[in-house]
Amino acid sequence: MNGWILGATLALGAGIGAALWGVATGPLRRRVVAQNMSTALACPALLLLSQGYTRPSYVDLALVLALLGPVGTLVFARLLADELADDPPRAWGVTWVVAGFGAAVVGVLCVATGPSRALVKLLVVGALLIGGNVVASRALSGGFRGVRRG
């Protein structure tokens, strides 16, 4: 157990625990936001685990999750568009807190990695993570009304 794995454990335990609780309980608008946040929290945890176990190839898991997580949320936003239109989620506070957490994790890992190709890869993952989740949150809150019905 080192500091990286401890951080990953905290992110998984507290973050994913809270996200699971949010997905399993409450109104629909809270469930979709929690679903979106779960991938945004799991991705930094995977990055921390990769650093903790010194296995750079584990970063690929975080990359795939950063790419597919927001895509999954966009599918939900499309399927639940009618239900969400009556009661749209407004979760920008949570979105930016989780995005800040992701940015902090990527920043710390970049410092630990040092200038190399791995650093650029981390920055790509971070950009996909934060950009994807901001776009997905905007889609959930009805930000893309022009494409709502496809």
Binding site: P56, S57, D60, L63, R117, V120, K121, V124
Partner: protein
């Protein structure tokens, strides 16, 4: 399609190829000749697809 638009399309495909090949080089673990060849080929296919897809979207 006149010469000007052909040139613009080629330039766009080239820009896509450069960006996608650079992305490939960043994401792989070890850089060797085989990876460079595969990356350049995959980036070429993806660049053609991206250019075509963007033309479809902007023409809509």
């Amino acid at each position: 399609m006149n010469p000007r638009t052909t040139l613009l399309t080629l330039a766009e495909a080239l820009a896509w190829w450069i960006a996608l090949a650079a992305l490939w080089l960043v994401l792989i673990s070890t850089v060797d000749t085989l990876e460079r060849v595969v990356g350049a080929s995959a980036a070429a296919v993806a660049a053609v697809a991206a250019t075509a897809a963007r033309r479809v979207v902007t023409a809509r």
